[in-house]
């Protein structure tokens, strides 16, 4: 499955900050780590700040710091801020959906969405950081 760019940037930013919550990083520093646009990342960080997941730190050397609970925040909690993940309710009605074939296909796609949602909801930021640690060690 593919995440929208904003969702991916948000997950990168939150995990990067949650990995060391005592540290503050600027949008530019996070963007450089992941090879992404600092401009886009700044917008994403603004949304994360409003959601209470990060806080901005003012003054010289300011930036952002993780403000959430890594064990109690799931990937779905982050992604949900940027893209609707409610399957049929969120998707526009596709042509042909009112036909038996279209309806059957929608049923299969809804099943896939439900599995994807449950998977994302089951992975906390803390668990994802453990996975990242294993990747780094490999």
């Amino acid at each position: 499955m593919k995440l929208q760019l904003a969702s991916r940037l948000a997950v990168y930013a939150v995990l990067e900050l949650a990995a060391r919550p005592e540290r503050q990083l600027s949008a530019a520093e996070i963007a450089e780590t992941y090879g992404v646009s600092a401009h886009h990342l700044s917008k994403v960080l603004h949304t994360l700040r409003r959601a209470g997941l990060v806080q901005s730190v003012r003054g010289a050397g300011g930036g952002f710091r993780f403000a959430g609970n890594a064990r109690r925040t799931s990937l779905m909690d982050v992604i949900d801020l940027f893209e609707p993940f409610d399957g049929a309710a969120a998707s526009p009605v596709e042509p042909g959906s009112d036909t038996p074939v279209g309806s059957a296909l929608n049923g299969v796609l809804t099943e896939i969405d439900a599995i994807a949602q449950a998977t994302l909801r089951s992975v906390s930021l803390a668990t994802c950081l453990k996975l990242a640690g294993k990747e780094a060690a490999a």
């Binding site: 609970n69 064990r71 109690r72 906390s124």
Partner: protein, 168 residues
Amino acid sequence: MTEILDYGIVPIAIRRVRQEDLPAIVALDAEITGVAKPDYWSEAYTRYGQNRPTERAFLVAETQDDPPRVVGAIAGEVRAWEFGSPPCGWLFSMQVVPDARQGKIATRLFEELRRFFQANGADTVRTMVARDNHLMLSFLRSQGLRGGPYLQLEMEIEPDLDHAGKGR
């Protein structure tokens, strides 16, 4: 997103289940699920607690209080060739009383079962969890479990109809 405090590691002892633990396990499960199932847990005790001890484990976590209190339980078995799978450890059930959570009890119970599986020939742990059981899914992911190569499928069994279109 709710802030939940970590109350530190709760001192417990983990041991094999005994018959006299059943009322506490029934109560523990009823507190979590809302349904008391004494017959179900009696059968689970027979199957996992008494039969085939080298393949099946039913463990409880009890506090160091006087008298000790059962605050968690876990059960599972090593199964071979079900669904085409080489021997693997199936986690059948796990519960921790709500007022004793956040004390690493589930983690220690799971670790004991994992060791049991490994000592009895299994190098994989599998289980099935309801999609909306976010707490259990999140816990198991934190222990390292991830989606496996199987899909759970199901269907409702509809009654057969006779030629008149009536149920048999």
